[in-house]
Amino acid sequence: MTAALSEPFGPLEPFVHPALFYRDEQEYLDGTVPFVRDGLEAGEPVAVAVPGKNLALIRDALGDAAGDVRLLDMREAGRNPGRIIPGVLRAFADAHPAGRRVRIIGEPIWAGRSDTEYPACVQHEALINAAFRGRTATILCPYDVERLPDHVLTDAYATHPTVIPSGSRTARDSDAYAPGAVVDRYNEPLAPVPYALTFAFDSDSLSHSRHVAVGEAARLGLGGVKLDDLALATAELTTNSVVHGGGSGVLRVWAEDGYVVCEVRDGGRLADVLAGRKPVPRDQRGGRGLLLVNLIADLVRVHRGDDGTTVRCWFAR
């Protein structure tokens, strides 16, 4: 499985993907604002997708030039890390002609990301390298060395081919760069939750399984658009199980903190590490189910096992 998951990570050029380690606001601005200004001066499209507080710092420092930059609050646009590549990074890069360099600051990992979110965050950072391999793009990823735990910073050396140390302006090659290994290491099993509603489905009960999930989610306090989104996610995941995952699966729904969680496990093997993270060409039929799930859920975790696949989605109540 390691070989299969590691395969998409070849030579990156002309893609550039440094981590920027910063210790305080000044180091943050010193590392990000010249990066933006250099891009604008070179005529490159520039986007900044960072948590709201840092977004305000950059916007204020840029002054009028901020109007030429696509600004996104990563806490919203990137709440689900699986949404960032298709919904933020590739969405921006693909809107410009191939071969024209784009610059993006992407800060998907901030102090306060939960232990549940983190494996999806670090896998996302690793998978950027596969999603942008050979693309003319530069993505700078700031890391708050004061507030993030040591293991997060260690992982950043594995997910970025180069790192700009705190207080430096120069990127250094990372000897620890190993994005495929990160994807494998954080492919953590998702143990079944004992108190969940549990429903075994097959092709005859696809529709019923969706109704069961929606009924339970509503009982647990999910409503409005979120409930519609859970219905869509359930339909896509259960249909995938029937079509690609051995013909049947097990659906579970439960409440966890401020979320309703919906999980589908089946006997299929999801080989493509970028499944659900790639924009789909407009003329391609099919292949958008997992992409939609990533776009609508607040968090998606996937476990790819030798004996099956589990996809777990969180929807904020």
């Binding site: 549990t198 019923h208 097990v250």
Partner: protein, 118 residues
């Protein structure tokens, strides 16, 4: 596996919702009732292919009795709309929330689809 909830474990669970399609009186199009999902996809795609072939400028899809459309069903509508060309369009009346949401997220600015809330 846990069984503390009174939910059928597997197998048939009453009649699965189908998809019924009726011609509209007085205008070109259909009224559909039921769900668009894996088991009814062929019916839905048949309706859309027929609409593309008929060559009318406007083809009405009355969906107020359709309770759900999955991503593949939305994709079939987008693909059919893309084949219309020449200012032709589908007018989709009162679609379920899932269809609007999917079109907005995956096929924004798709030509040939006009969504009418009522």
């Amino acid at each position: 596996m846990n069984t503390q909830y009174p939910v059928p474990a597997t197998g048939p669970c009453g009649p699965a919702p189908g998809l019924a399609v009726f011609p509209l009186a007085g205008r070109r199009g259909v009224r559909a009732a039921g769900e668009v999902g894996l088991t009814t996809r062929a019916i839905w795609e048949g309706v859309l292919e027929q609409a593309v072939r008929e060559g009318e400028d406007v083809y009405y899809l009355e969906l107020s009795d359709v309770t759900f459309v999955d991503v593949a069903g939305a994709g079939a509508l987008a693909a059919a709309a893309g084949q219309l060309g020449d200012g032709r369009r589908f007018v989709v009346r009162r679609p379920p929330a899932a269809l609007r949401r999917t079109l907005d997220l995956l096929w924004p600015n798709q030509t040939g689809i006009e969504v009418a809330p009522s």
